[in-house]
Amino acid sequence: MRAMGRELPALLLLGGLAAAPFIGFGEGYMLTLLARMMILAMAAVSLSFIVAGAGLVSLGHAAMLGFGAYAVVILDDLQVVDALFVLPAAILAAAGFALLTGAVAIRTSGVNFIMITLAFGQMAFFTASSLSGYGGDDGYTLYARTEVNGARLLDDRLVFHFVCLGALVFTWLLCRMLLASRFGRVLRAVRGNPMRAQALGFSPYPYRLTAYVIAGALGGAAGFLFANATEFVAPAYISWQRSGELLFMVILGGLSGLHGALLGAIGFVLLEEWLSHQWEHWRILFGVLLILAVLFLPGGLSGIPAQVGRMLRRD
């Protein structure tokens, strides 16, 4: 029951997202913003699965989105535009990249792991930049959104809104289920005390690699949605800045559970959107606010209720 209580803000937000198109947020601009928010939240939740769940702090998660998005681009160029093929291809491309790079990266830990994932992410970025057939640095505009079994379903803004929401909820529930399972328990144990886990007979490597590949696959699915949301893909999607933003969403939301990443992503995008309309040099203020959040919200956004509770008890 206590877990339910902690997840309540995230549940309310999901309810709000479901209601949004019907309570005055249904026009084009707003739906575009909400879709971007939900897709980034999905990526942040999948990143939180390995950061908070397995202690794998990746600074290359945007590359997973990139592989998903570029799978859409390359298939679009080959005139393969049905989600029945495109979505599995996006997921497999990202999962394959996660498997190959994770096999190396997971042999390290701590700062080395961060640096290796960053390096692999940058390799993906420069590779994408050099794909002159797909626009190189300038990016690639899709002919149209991906079809679903021949139907132009995703073109409908409302349908696309609920596809994104469904994908976000699915990602959250899947990662949550995984962390509660035997598999997840071993992951969390390895994060909490690797020596203890090994002394019990668990080799951390296969568990961590499996988690890394699952997170990569979900990132690929988010990349598929991202490409469709903007109908445009550029190497900037894969840049390390994007990976850093995703990691920041996870930390801003709090590491006590996956719902933190959801709050963090939505808070991050909303703040970014609002500030950018207030002031030309909004990024300065944005940085300051993020620093303040880290300093004064040790439990992140998801830790605010507990923090307020503690302060009230002290008085």
Binding site: L178, F183, M195, A199, L200
Partner: protein, 257 residues
């Protein structure tokens, strides 16, 4: 004649110029409590680390139930039935006592690549974990996060974790370290209740406890085994007395409790 459960043959380990394990050979028989004592810096914890697989040895062989495990990593040895406790408490702080112990049960219960069922509903794991907690007197603390427990309780939990793996050999590295007098009394009674049920290699500084618990004692001095024998034989041994000269904590004269 029964075969030893654990046999060490000529183990060697050097840290730079320092021989921390020097030609150590030792048999541990099934069902015995075999204590390893020695002055500070004798290499007792190093020896436990070598047996459990935390540290590789430079030379020599380690046989467990006749199988050569010298080159097996820690987690493979654990799966064969070697459970260890750590001198510095090694628990998972943000897990509850029950989840710490249930993880140990899970280790011996087939593959952990199971993705769907929430562990909270795994009655078999949780019942076995609760039984292990109960056997160390911690059942009432099952829902407490391990990080929030007292030092003595953490030592008990450490034992429960080791027991929950249904080990064939328990390697206990100073299970009494840092425990107060009352906690020590409780832990010694607990370890005494293990006699005959588990084969134990015990490293411990508390000589009262060692002489009360052990079936046999081996004495390690500067990485070298100088004697192995019954508590009485060790008490009489001139070389052991010399090694402990000036230390008050070896009850060489008086009979132990």
């Amino acid at each position: 004649m029964t075969e030893p459960l654990l046999a060490l043959h000529g183990l060697q380990k050097r840290f730079g110029g320092l021989a921390v394990t020097h030609d150590v050979s030792l048999d541990v028989m099934p069902g015995e409590i075999h204590a390893i004592i020695g002055p500070n810096g004798a290499g007792k914890t190093t020896l436990i680390n070598e047996i459990s697989g935390v540290l590789p040895v430079d030379a020599g062989r380690i046989l467990f139930d006749g199988q050569d495990i010298t080159r097996l990593p820690l987690h493979r040895r654990a799966r064969l039935g070697l459970a260890r406790s750590f001198q510095i408490t090694s628990i998972i702080p943000d897990f509850t006592a029950l989840e710490n112990t249930a993880l140990a049960v899970q280790a011996g219960d087939g593959s952990s690549f199971r993705f769907f069922r929430p562990t909270g509903t795994e009655a078999r794991l949780n019942a076995a974990a609760l039984a292990a907690l109960d056997s160390v007197g911690l059942a009432h603390r099952a829902a407490t996060p391990a990080g929030a427990m007292s030092h003595g309780e953490k030592r008990q939990l450490e034992l429960a974790i080791a027991l929950a793996t249904q080990p064939r050999l328990l390697l206990l590295d100073e299970p009494l370290a840092g425990a107060g007098p009352e906690e020590t009394e409780r832990l010694v009674a607990l370890l005494r209740s293990f006699r005959g049920r588990y084969t134990i290699v015990l490293v411990e500084h508390d000589m009262q406890a060692v002489f009360a618990l052990a079936d046999r004692i081996s004495v390690l001095v500067y990485g070298r085994l100088i004697a192995t024998g019954s508590p009485d034989a060790i008490r009489q041994n001139a070389e052991v007395r010399a090694a402990y000269l000036g230390e008050d904590d070896l009850p060489l004269a008086g009979a132990p409790c």
